[in-house]
């Protein structure tokens, strides 16, 4: 399923050329798919809720923007450095916070998201305050031998975004299948039992928290580069909450969940061509219905439906 989505995403501009608006919208949604993958690892697989995750994306965005603007770094190194920076901040935040009980932890992540947002907005000398850091340069063309891949154009950047997103999904896939991922799943299902089996719960939580923050940071860097500005409004509390909604909408704990969630989150407004308030009301109602009837999101509902149909076939 993921492979298909990836190939389809990469081929889209070729199959349906001259759709600049669609390419814009899709690129922007990829910018939120990447942090959603990070949150999915944390929430869907490990069972830790973070309500301030876009704060880490912001750290990645600002770090990458500064490196590209001030130090003249290329896009990819800046993206990696931004992710690393977000991972380090995640580590520093996780050390005190991950020892807390679950309810306390959730509210502290909210506080962390707010603190980071306040800093983005007010540390004018570093982050440019409310205006953010404009003028992030377009990525330079990539040279592989004789091959020159232009990344500056809309379609070129779209392909770049697809590549980064695919990389995030590959990381998720590798983690979930690895022994590390199995330990995370055990922590989600029963922490005391995982510990009795030899899992150092705190160290594992810390590792996945930092990894998840780093992936979010990569997504933030991608967004900053696409919008050519690192602005606080992209990384505020509302965005963090939307991210949680995206992950749960798609299906937390499903590998394709973040992609499905973001796609619906972005596509729904395009389908429902009504006033934005009415649209958001519909979306809110959808979330309530989902909380009540399908806690595992759209993919969870699909799996349940398929199982029921198969059972009906058997009878």
């Amino acid at each position: 399923m993921l492979l298909g989505l990836g190939v389809a995403a990469a081929l889209l501009p070729v199959l349906v050329p001259d759709q600049p608006y669609a390419v814009q919208v899709l690129t922007l949604s990829l910018c939120s798919v990447v942090p959603a993958v990070g949150l999915n690892l944390l929430f869907g697989y490990t069972g830790l809720v973070s309500l301030g995750h876009m704060g880490f994306a912001g750290v990645g965005a600002y770090a990458a923007a500064l490196l590209m603007k001030q130090a003249g770094w290329g896009f990819l190194p800046a993206l990696v450095a931004g992710a690393g920076m977000a991972g380090i901040v995640g580590l520093l935040v996780g050390i005190p916070c991950l020892r807390l009980r679950s309810h306390f932890f959730i509210i502290v992540t909210l506080a962390v998201g707010l603190i980071l947002g306040t800093l983005f907005n007010n540390l004018d000398w570093l982050t440019g305050g409310a205006e953010g850091l404009p003028g992030v340069p377009r990525p330079r063309p990539l040279l592989i031998g004789e091959l020159r891949i232009v990344l500056g154009t809309a379609v070129g950047f779209y392909w770049m975004a697809v590549a980064v997103t695919v990389a995030a999904f590959v990381v998720q896939w590798a983690v979930v299948r690895s022994p590390f991922g199995k330990s995370l799943a055990a922590i989600r299902q029963d922490e005391a039992m995982a510990a009795a089996r030899g899992v150092n719960v705190f160290a594992h939580k810390l590792a996945v928290f930092a990894l998840s923050a780093a992936i979010a940071g990569a997504g933030g860097a991608l967004r900053a580069c696409f919008l050519r500005v690192a602005a606080p409004s992209s990384f505020d509390l509302g965005e963090s909450i939307n991210l949680v909604a995206v992950v749960i909408l798609g299906g937390a704990g499903f590998q394709a969940g973040p992609a499905v969630g973001s796609l619906v989150f972005v596509a729904l407004p395009e389908v429902l061509r009504v006033a934005s308030q009415a649209r958001l009301m519909v979306f809110g109602a959808l979330l309530v219905v989902m909380a009540l009837y399908s806690p595992r999101g759209l993919l969870g509902a699909a799996v349940a439906l398929r199982r029921r149909m198969r059972r009906a076939d058997a009878v």
Binding site: L100, A111, Q277, P295
Partner: protein, 289 residues
């Protein structure tokens, strides 16, 4: 001088936070539900107060009572339709709350537009001389009404049969059921009571800071901070937490730019939890350091 003035301001905002936090902690204690949509009930209180004042009768005390009653009804409905079924799952409580916030805030935007509305009350125009400081009657009114509501809540919880049932349910639901307490009724009552208090808070703050769709967001964040500081389970802790946050953020403006006010509050929260991971008034669980 400035210190005293900010202390008074802080006390006023802190009593609003306390009113808000008490409702959240009651619901959490009895039902194990964290209702992030508590803020939109607060906001609804402001709008209900405005509606009563402009369309029914411009008598503020009556508008306060009606808003609180309206909030209680909304709360009872939400409990019955949504939260009663989500008692087991914290993430789904958050999702449902998000959905409710989106629905209500955008519904209000559609109905009343994005502009803030004003509630005009005489108490805003009356200045009470308090030594060298002058505060509006509305600010005094807020502290007094919250004080009366808290005292009433305390009496209700300790003296009345229903209040005792609520406390019993929060301590041990299984045991409460055995002695003949109907948990569903207690849940509905708790939610209604908490929501009534939140709506009352919105109606109290409305004349001071205008009424707008996002007016419940900050009280929500501060209320959450207050109940965590208080240890997530203690009503008294939530009240003290709310008051402390109000005073802290008001005094912080003397030392740092106003933009950093919220940052100071949340940084203090994290520092407190570093020292006491179970909050100021919380008890440690078995196996906790």
């Amino acid at each position: 001088m400035a210190f005293l003035e900010q202390a008074l301001n802080g006390l006023m905002m802190g009593s609003i936070y306390a009113l808000f936090a008490v409702g959240m902690v009651l619901v959490f204690g009895v039902m194990r539900v964290l209702n992030f949509a508590h803020g939109v009930i607060f906001m609804a209180g402001g709008y209900m107060c405005h509606a009563v004042m402009t369309h029914v009768v411009a008598f503020y005390p009556l508008a306060l009572l009606l808003s609180a009653a309206g909030g209680a009804v909304i709360g009872a409905v939400l409990e019955r339709l949504v939260f009663r079924r989500l008692r087991e799952s914290l993430p789904m409580q958050i999702v449902a709350s998000l959905g409710l916030i989106l629905m209500v805030q955008n519904g209000v935007l559609l109905l009343f537009g994005p502009e803030a509305v004003q509630i005009s009350v005489p108490a805003m125009r009356t200045v009470v001389p308090l030594g060298p400081l002058g505060v509006t009657l509305q600010q005094v009114l807020i502290v007094v009404v919250v004080g009366v509501a808290m005292a009433g809540l305390h009496l209700f919880l300790t003296r009345s049969r229903l209040g005792t049932a609520m406390r019993a349910a929060s301590q041990d639901l299984q045991a409460a059921r055995v002695v003949g307490i109907n948990p569903d009724r207690v849940f509905a009552l708790t939610f209604a009571l908490a929501s009534g208090l939140a709506a009352l808070g919105g109606a109290l703050l409305g004349p001071l800071f205008l009424v707008f769709p996002a007016m419940g967001d900050l009280p929500l964040l501060k209320g959450l901070t207050a109940i965590v500081l208080g240890g997530m389970g203690s009503v008294g802790g939530a009240v003290l937490g709310g008051l402390a946050i109000g005073v802290l953020e008001a005094e912080s403006t003397l030392l740092a730019p106003t933009d950093y006010r919220d940052l100071v509050v949340f940084a203090v929260l994290i520092l407190v939890l570093l020292v006491r991971p179970y909050g100021l008034f919380g008890r440690r669980l078995r196996g906790e350091p």
